[in-house]
Each structure stands twice: as C-alpha cells, then as structure tokens.
C-alpha cells in the first residue's frame, strides 16, 4: 500500500469502466463507466433500485461484476475481496448501519484500526510490551476521531442502544479510523432529522478538508447532494443517464424525467 505511487489531488483515483453486474437474469448494473478524482466528493444518485448500492458493493469487492474493469490508484483489478479493498484504503458505511451492536462506541471505532495494528499475536497474548504501546498510540488516534465527531458522551455506550442518527455517526467514525484514501458513504443521512443532517454534512465536508479523503456518496436528499458534491453521476435501472457538475445534472432532461416520472 505504501509502495503504491501517491496520487495528486485532481488526478484519477478510481476508474470504473463498462461495468455490468447481474444476479441470475436480473441486471443490476449495465455498462456503467465513471471515475472518481482524488480529493473530490462524488455523488451517485438515482431512484430506488437504480443500482447505486450495487455500485458501491462492486467498488469495495462485496460483488464481483461479470464484465468491466475497475482501476484503483492506477492498478486495474479483476475480482477482489472486501478485506483486501480495506487494506488498499477503501472504507465504507452501509445503508442500514452495520455496526458491532454489542460493543461500545470506543471499541467499534478501535476495530476500524485493526489493519493499522500489526504487532504480533504473541505480544497480544500478553498484552504487553510493543502491543501495549501500540494499543495506546491507536487509542489516541481514536480519541481524536471521537472528538472530531463530537461523540465523547457516548464513548462507553454499547452502540445497539444509541439512536439511529448517532449510530450513523459512529459508523462514520469507524470508517475514518481506517484513514481511508477513498470513503464510500451509502446514504449517510437517511432517516435523520434536519439538525442531524446538517451535522453530518459538516462532518463530511470537514473530513474532506482535514484528512483530504476522497468521498463517494449515495444520497437521496437532493439539497444535500447539490451542496456537498463536486460531481454527480446519475443511475436509473442500472444505466448511467447523466454525469457532471450538480448544475449540469440538475438541468438534464433525462434526470428530471427519471425523478418526476414520465410516460415513456
């Protein structure tokens, strides 16, 4: 990972070329191409069932597309496993919050550090020496994230007991703990009230500013999408119908039709 060449802001970080994904006879994604540039917020939008989440699942290796190619950091890849995607710096959150419900906020975010902690099994058995120092060092980083996301008050609470909005925030924290190069957010604001949405918007923008993280975002709230994102790709029935800046997309007739529904 460290040996890979670094990518300057504005350069292509991820390139999706002609990707098609089928489940049996159902076409989830058909021949979709788009790219994500380093440092930008890239939104993927579209009506329900357009294949947005499938697209994220393809990017981080949960699904393997039947056709097409994905190039990440200049390296084309065929199939990949999710935990390999994670080692290469791709983190994500899920539409229906996938947290470790029995564990505390702190532990959940610490799990995000798993890949960064490499001291041997042996030392860990005794929780001593190098492993102990490592634990302390990573704990510091996690406390910074907790601070950043303003969730100090729920550090020791099992996340299963938290309200939905806070769970989403913890999930973002866990993804940030991985210090990802590319962060995939699947509807980070779904089910939130206005105030929570504003907070989340702020966190996403701050993440981009402070950590220089590239973000791909699925979101239904058009106001949010237009405010946050640099470029938007629009999917409908698994096909890309538009791609461009928020203004361009907003003015695109196909997009308007897809959202308002038009008799074809």
């Amino acid at each position: 990972m460290q040996t890979m060449r670094s990518i300057e802001p504005g350069q292509q970080l991820l390139n999706v070329e002609n990707v098609s994904l089928r489940f049996g006879g159902v076409k989830a994604i058909t021949d979709v191409s788009f790219d994500i540039k380093k440092g930008e917020v890239r939104a993927i939008i579209g009506p329900n069932g357009a294949g947005k989440t499938s697209m994220l699942n393809v990017i981080n290796g949960f699904y393997h597309p039947q056709e097409g190619q994905i190039t990440y950091r200049g390296e084309a890849r065929a199939r990949m496993r999710p935990h390999v995607a994670a080692t290469q710096g791709i983190a994500r959150t899920f539409q229906n919050v996938a947290l470790f419900k029995g564990m505390t906020t702190l532990d959940n975010i610490m799990v995000g550090r798993t890949l960064k902690m490499q001291k041997s099994f042996f030392w860990q058995l005794f929780r001593h020496g190098p492993a102990m120092n490592e634990e302390i060092e990573h704990r510091k980083f996690v406390e910074e994230i907790i601070d950043f996301l303003e969730i100090e008050h729920i550090r020791k609470v099992p996340v299963g007991k938290l309200p939905y909005g806070l769970q989403k925030r913890v999930e973002l924290g866990r993804a940030l703990a991985m210090q990802p190069e590319l962060l995939l957010l699947d509807e980070p604001m779904a089910g939130m009230n206005l105030e929570e949405k504003e907070d989340m918007c702020r966190f996403i923008l701050d993440t981009k500013e402070q950590y220089g993280t590239t973000i791909a975002l699925i979101e239904h709230d058009m106001g949010v999408v237009m405010d946050l994102s640099d470029r938007v790709v629009v999917l409908e029935y698994g096909i890309k119908i538009a791609d461009g800046t928020p203004e361009e997309v907003k003015a695109n007739q196909k997009v308007i039709d897809a959202y308002l529904g038009v008799a074809h």
């Binding site: 981080n60 949960f62 496993r81 999710p82 935990h83 994670a86 080692t87 983190a91 994500r92 899920f94 996938a98 947290l99 470790f100 419900k101 029995g102 564990m103 532990d107 610490m110 799990v111 995000g112 550090r113 798993t114 890949l115 902690m117 001291k119 099994f121 860990q124 058995l125 929780r127 492993a131 634990e135 866990r174 993804a175 703990a177 991985m178």
Partner: protein, 316 residues
C-alpha cells in the same frame, strides 16, 4: 412418597452438611469441565454461526495426540507443544477445506459438515492411535495426585488434588480467554465478526483468518478439557459422549455467551450430582445421565434464549 421426594432429601442435606459440601464440590468440578467443553462450542458458534458437532471428538483427538506423542518417547512438555501444533494445523485445514467452500450455505449444511468432520477425526484417530483406551500422562504433566481431607461441619470432606488443579486451570483458562477477547486487537476482531460479518469485512478483517483463529482457540480448549477428563478416567473415544452434555449447558447459558457457558456448566454439574445423590435412590440411581436434559428442557419452556443468550426479536 411425597415425603420422600420433597422433604426427606432436604432433611438429609441438613442432617449431614459435610456430605452436602462433598456433593457440591464434586458437582462444581464436573461443572467446570462441562463449562470448558461448552466454551469450545460457544467460541466457534459466535464467530461463524456453526454448531460444531466435532467439538467433543476434538477433545478426544487432542488428548490422544498428546498421549500418542508421549508414547513415542517425546517428553511431556514438548508433546504438549506438538499437540498444539497439530490442533493449529487442524484449524487451518478445517477453515480451508470445510468452512471456506461452504461459506454462505445454510447453517444446517455447515452443521452436517461438522458431523462429517467428527467421523474423519475418529477415523484418523483410530488409524494412528488404535482404538484402545489410554492412560493420560498426568504425572509427567505435573498434575498432582492424592487427596486432601478437610475436617468441617462435623465430618470430613475429601478434595482430590487433581480436581482442585482442574478447577484452577479451567478458571485461569476462562479468565485468560475473556481478557483476550476484551482487550486485544484480535479479540476485538473476533467480537466484531461475531456481531456483523459485513461490517467486519468492510474494515479489513479477514473472515478466513478469524475462523482459523477461533478453531485453534477451540482446539486449545479441547486439549485442556481432554487432559482433565482423561486424567479423571481414561482417554478413549467414549469420551465424546461428554460433548452431548455440553448441549444442555448451552441451552441453559445461551449459545453465544461465554459467561453463559460457565454458569450453565456449573448449574448442570452441581444439579446433576445433587440430584443423583439425594434423589437417585428413589428411582434406583442413574439420574446423573439424564437430569441435565430435563433441566434444559424445563429451561427451554421458560427462557428459550438461555440465561445470557441474545434475545431474538423477529421483525414482522
């Protein structure tokens, strides 16, 4: 009759408290060992959702391997290390050959696969070590022998030193496992996998690696259980029956809870011995063999998720 069932046993308990203490102690010791076996099940069930039918035979297999190495002239402590090595290889093999190809299959298929594993292990074990019962190498492992008599409550209570050692070792083992789960990176990763496979994958935890680790941990638990049980009787394939005793323990404690396995083990162990000693004579003995299942059955009606298990709430 009612007198014999409901009053007389308690009169006996009150009349001879030393005997009661003795019975409780024996129940406690077998309870600790039940807890150890159940722990092996819980570890694997939590991390991979597989009910590992082979856990019982893993106990026998580990004990046989240990004794087998020793018979070949390997010093006891090196034999222990070699046996751990064998259990590690077994864990890797199970992950690679059984779990990985069957990932995402229904639970029942994985369960059946562990049935298969049971017979594979029996086959290999009998092929290499033969079918005769063997003596556990207690002395070479510095396990104490003999007994301590303590005068108390107007009588004498006998504590086998071996039983004391078993209780201490099991307690240390359980404590160490709990600490490992709670405070280390791998422990956290294990808990994470138990909670959500999807989320664990997304932060870069390799399920394959975790499965190998839990099977190895279950193998270590199996070895310790095997040594303790073997020391109290002998090492033979008959020992795998004790695995069936783990089932009521798990029903009592909940399949996903380590504290549950411990408490469940103790309840079953003590319940069994008390029932046998005080109520056994009424039915001509043998209560010990089935009372655990009756307790579990009663429990299922009241609290199907077990004492500490996760309550399953179905969304309708």
């Amino acid at each position: 009759m009612l007198y014999n069932i409901f009053i007389d046993p308690f009169m006996q308990m009150g009349g001879a408290p030393d005997l009661l203490v003795q019975t409780l102690w024996e129940g406690l010791v077998s309870g600790v060992l039940y807890a150890l076996i159940a722990l092996g099940f819980v570890l694997i069930f939590k991390a991979s959702g597989v009910f590992n039918f082979a856990q019982g035979i893993m106990v026998v297999f580990a004990a046989l391997t240990l004794v087998g190495f020793h018979e070949k002239g390997v010093p006891a402590w090196i034999a222990v290390i070699l046996t751990l090595g064998v259990m590690y290889v077994l864990a890797l093999a199970v992950e690679r050959v059984v779990l990985r190809p069957l990932v995402n299959q229904p639970d029942i298929i994985l369960f059946m696969a562990t049935f298969g594993l049971t017979y594979v292990l029996i086959g290999i074990g009998e092929f290499i070590f033969g079918g005769e019962p063997k003596q556990m190498i207690t002395e070479q492992l510095f396990l104490p022998r003999g007994a301590i008599d303590v005068k108390m409550l107007g009588g004498r209570v006998t504590f086998q030193k071996l039983d004391i050692a078993a209780a201490v070792i099991a307690t240390v083992m359980i404590g160490a496992l709990a600490a490992f789960f709670q405070y280390t990176r791998i422990g956290r990763a294990l808990r994470a996998v138990a909670d959500s496979h999807k989320a664990a994958l997304s932060v870069g935890i390799s399920l394959n690696q975790i499965w190998a680790i839990v099977w190895f941990a279950a193998g270590i638990v199996a070895l310790i259980t095997g040594v303790m049980w073997g020391a109290r009787s002998e090492v033979s394939f008959g020992l795998d029956i004790i695995a069936l005793k783990a089932l009521p323990v798990l029903i009592l404690g909940g399949f996903t809870s380590i504290p549950g396995a411990i408490v469940g083990g103790l309840i079953i162990g003590i319940g069994e011995k008390i029932a046998e000693f005080y109520w056994g004579p009424l039915v001509g003995g043998g209560i010990e063999n089935w009372i655990a299942y009756v307790i579990a059955l009663g429990f299922l009606m009241v609290r199907p998720q077990g004492l500490f298990g996760d309550k399953i709430i179905e969304r309708i």
